[in-house]
């Protein structure tokens, strides 16, 4: 795990350590099994086409989980995620597989965040962040916010 971050280390406007993700058809199958979301929209070509989204799309809830991953990596074990919200603004299409476990070349996603506010409330040292998932073109396909408590060096 990365070094623990403290409330005193962060400033408004600062960046949440970015997290890279590559959505693949394999990952979508894995996510369907782990999450229980078997909507054919995420694995059946004709079904997705008929719904007007072109091709099978990345599950919104998987992108949400990437954002949770972004936040929990950044706040560390002594941080506590208090709230997280996100809205799915755009479709994302997974890379197809080249081999059994290697994806074809293609799009790479980045989960990113920016600190918008820091304040204390009782014993809690809180930070608010704007968070998002960016596709290969730099478009924010999922946008949201998070509230987390960070440990303080003075406690």
């Amino acid at each position: 795990m990365a070094k623990q971050i403290y409330y005193e280390d962060v400033e408004v406007g600062g960046e949440v350590t970015p997290l890279q993700k590559i959505a693949t058809t394999r990952m979508l199958v894995q996510w369907a099994g782990a999450s229980g979301d078997f909507n054919p929209l995420h694995y059946e070509e004709d079904f997705a086409k008929n719904l007007g989204v072109g091709h099978p799309i990345v599950h919104g809830a998987l992108k949400r989980s990437w954002l949770v991953n972004l936040m929990t990596d950044w706040i560390g074990e002594d941080g506590k995620l208090k709230k997280l919200s996100c809205r799915y603004r755009g479709m994302d299409y997974p890379r197809k597989m080249k081999t059994f476990d290697e994806p074809q070349d293609g799009e790479t996603w980045w989960c990113r965040g920016k600190i918008t506010k820091k304040y204390t409330e009782g014993d809690n040292c809180l930070v608010e962040c704007e968070i998002w998932v960016e596709n290969g073109k730099g478009e924010k396909t999922t946008q949201g916010s998070a509230l987390a408590a960070l440990p303080s060096k003075s406690k």
Binding site: A34, G36, F38, G52, K83
Partner: protein
């Protein structure tokens, strides 16, 4: 294209609570979930590491157990599919989610969840005539402490 007009068959669901359902949090389910996300945090993957942490057991990432994880006696997708049976447009998209996290969740916990339809409204969106449903689910652990609350937004179009 006009806004979707919500039929009475759906309007009457607002405010109604579903039968509570139980979610047993298991080590294997947490690990499969973390691997699917690509989250390498040892607290969610490594039983030995987690046992030596301050929690003493494998922990679940926040939002584990929320939509759309299946649980005994409840399947959020079937619940949403029921809306279609009652007159909602057949296209379904997950619009987004809001979480509030309280007590940490880990292997061995048993969560009881209650789902309630908060609102259903018709709108015109870029998808066309769309029905927007907000469903709130509160998860309580075996000690009676609130674990987390999630508010899901679904789009039928």
């Amino acid at each position: 294209m006009a806004a979707f007009v919500v039929p009475d068959s759906l309007k009457q669901l607002v405010g109604q609570a579903e039968k509570p359902f139980v979610l047993k949090v298991e080590e294997g389910a947490i690990q499969r979930y973390a691997r699917a996300v690509g989250d390498a945090n040892p607290l969610y993957n490594n039983v030995q590491y987690a046992a030596q942490s301050k929690w003493g057991r494998l922990m679940a990432p926040p939002a584990f157990g929320g939509w759309p994880v299946e649980a005994e006696g409840f399947d959020m997708i079937k619940f949403v599919a029921r809306l279609i049976g009652l007159g909602a447009p057949a296209g379904l998209l997950d619009g987004g989610v809001d979480y509030e996290f309280y007590s940490d969740v880990g292997a061995g916990d048993t969560l009881v969840a209650v789902t309630r339809v908060e609102s259903i409204e018709g709108r015109e969106t870029k998808l066309g005539a769309t029905m927007i449903t907000v469903v709130e689910t509160t998860f309580t652990n075996q000690k009676g402490a609130r674990a987390f609350v999630m508010r899901n937004t679904f789009l039928n179009f």
